[in-house]
């Protein structure tokens, strides 16, 4: 990594560029004037949700191998508590679309998304899932971006992205969940509190 890139701090690399509340919820805040308030139930729930994202074992092509590498020993997303990859959509929280979605697969993806229990999140991993990537112009059978089929929370460019990039996206998703904001609010450019 060149010197120029290093100067970017870790938080600046995130889409929001801000740190959200990452302390353990339920902590006691001292209010001015001596009052004490415990953090809200919402915070507890969002903390739990953000730290327990169970992915669906869903990979269509090349990015699936990097997704496996993230699960592997060197990168190990179990450090964040994501390692409980569920094979059934009913028990999964996040669907990592790792690979191309073609026209025949699109209804299946939609079905899988519908079968998941709320709250559910989607990460589009790699160029194919974001926009069709290498298959954007010259093919007849590729969906030009998974967000035509299901709503996507986080996009990771790359073909395929490095394992660290997927971890980065997972941390970004965590931040989003902790902030409790919807996709629309973020798109409108509201600050993450």
């Amino acid at each position: 990594m060149s010197k120029n890139d290093k100067q970017k701090s870790f938080l600046e690399t995130f889409p929001t560029g801000k740190e959200t509340e990452s302390v353990f919820p339920g902590t006691i805040h001292e209010l001015p004037g001596g009052g004490i308030v415990t953090s809200k139930l919402d915070d507890v729930i969002n903390w739990a949700r953000s730290n327990s994202l169970w992915p669906l074992t869903f990979a269509t092509s090349c990015c699936g191998i990097e997704y496996m590498a993230v699960a592997g020993a060197k990168y190990d997303f179990s450090r964040f508590g994501f390692e409980v990859a569920r094979a059934t959509p009913r028990q999964a929280d996040v669907i990592i679309i790792a690979g191309t979605i073609v026209n025949k697969m699109a209804p299946v993806l939609k079905r899988l998304y519908d079968q998941m229990a709320d709250p559910k999140y989607v990460i589009a991993m790699g160029a194919c899932a974001i926009s069709g990537g290498p298959f954007f112009y010259n093919t007849y059978s590729v969906v030009k971006g998974a967000d035509h089929v299901v709503p996507v929370d986080v996009y990771i460019p790359g073909c395929p992205p490095r394992p660290e990039a997927l971890l980065h996206a997972l941390i970004a998703l965590q931040q989003k969940i902790k902030s409790g904001m919807t996709r629309e609010q973020i798109r409108e450019g509201k600050d993450i509190v």
Binding site: F24, V44, I45, W47, A48, R49, N51, S52, G72, A73, D76, S78, R79, F80, G81, E83, V84, R86, A87, T88, R90, Q91, D93, A117, D118, P119
Partner: protein, 358 residues
């Protein structure tokens, strides 16, 4: 010395003074219920994080380490998430059975808590037919799984449930015969008596080779009975996606998940009681000084130490072995474990009659 039995006795006396014996009994039942549920939850949290750490270390990675100090709050986050996650009932499922099944699995696991001696004189229900009760109740757990598999209206679930049915029914036999070995040696089916009989040494050490064989068979059988790898055919992630709980989500799934871990704890606790002397400290024959030192370690520490050792053993199996195929699983039981445990029982009977054990 500080012990659970003194505390329990004092509470009993105090309540009797306060509200009279009938209400004291009711209150004690409530307290016991709450305590079991609390223990249930605490054990679930501890065992889940333990499994993930054991798996991680065997698999040359770190495991959960970012949520709370050293990742200790990881299973707490999972639990809260599962509590607030949508629990759906699929269209076409048998609604009643589908929703009741997880509770059956959990209630069976809870019932098995009753006769276990957690520490010296600390037992919810010291019944004189402890072993019989355990074997009877533990076979009920298959009902919850069968209900879940059938009611889901999912082919994977049905296959998983059928596999589980065949598996649990067969492995109960050799598990029961292995338990009988200890019963024969002790001459009693009360858990208290079995623990008392191990005062001068645990059965695994003083019962000759047949008891060691019985122990190995017991461990294999209970691994199969609790649907743990390498016998996790009822779930078989790579074959049946998630087996009998494919259609379960949210808290209903969490109950299955929890029941599995509680079952593992209970079978290990029973194994520790039967073969390793439960809460009984390590006593060796006539070494009075040594025995005396061992007595200073609280009995609950002994009990939980032994139980967690066995739990670790079962986890170790899970992260080492591949899964068996369904016909191989049944072959193993009917062609190997059952004949061996029958012959073994004969041998143990001989030892018991001739008084060869130490």
């Amino acid at each position: 010395m500080w012990s659970f039995s003194e505390i329990a006795k004092n509470i009993d006396l105090w309540l009797n003074d306060l509200v009279g014996s009938t209400w004291a009994l009711v209150l004690e039942m409530v307290i016991a219920g709450v305590a079991v549920i609390g223990l249930f939850a605490a054990l679930g949290l501890v065992l889940v994080i333990m499994e993930r750490k054991v798996a991680a270390w065997i698999q040359i990675r770190l495991g959960p380490n970012r949520v709370g100090p050293k990742g200790m709050f990881q299973s707490m986050a999972d639990t809260v998430k599962l509590l607030v996650k949508e629990g759906m009932t699929p269209d076409g499922a048998d609604r009643l059975l589908f929703n009741v099944a997880p509770f059956i699995a959990m209630i069976v696991a809870m019932l098995l808590m009753a006769p276990i001696a957690f520490a010296k004189d600390f037992q919810l229900w010291d019944m004189n037919i402890g072993v019989l009760y355990i074997t009877a109740v533990s076979s009920l757990s298959v009902i919850g799984i069968l209900m879940a598999g059938w009611a889901s209206n999912n082919k994977y679930s049905l296959l998983g449930a059928m596999r589980s049915g065949a598996q649990i029914v067969s492995y109960e036999l050799s598990g029961g015969l292995a338990i009988l070995a200890v019963v024969v040696l002790t001459g009693s089916i009360s858990l208290t008596d079995i623990i008392k009989a191990q005062e001068n040494g645990w059965w695994i050490f003083k019962g000759h080779i047949p008891v060691i064989i019985a122990f190995i068979i017991y461990i294999i059988a209970v691994t199969a009975e609790t649907n743990r790898a390498p016998f996790d055919l009822a779930e078989a992630e790579s074959e049946l996606t998630a087996g009998f709980h494919t259609e379960y989500s949210g808290m209903k799934f969490a109950l299955f998940f929890l029941a599995e871990y509680i079952n593992v704890f209970i079978v290990c606790a029973i194994g520790a009681t039967l073969f390793f002397g439960g809460w009984m400290p390590l006593h060796i024959g006539n070494w009075q000084a040594f025995n005396h030192i061992m007595d200073y370690i609280p009995s609950s520490v002994w009990f939980f130490g032994k139980t967690f050792f066995l739990i670790f053993l079962i986890m170790w199996f899970r992260w080492t072995f591949p899964r068996l195929r369904i016909d191989q699983l049944l072959n193993l039981e009917w062609k190997y474990l059952l004949p061996i445990s029958m012959i073994n029982l004969l041998l143990v009977t001989l030892i018991a009659i001739l008084g060869w054990h130490f």
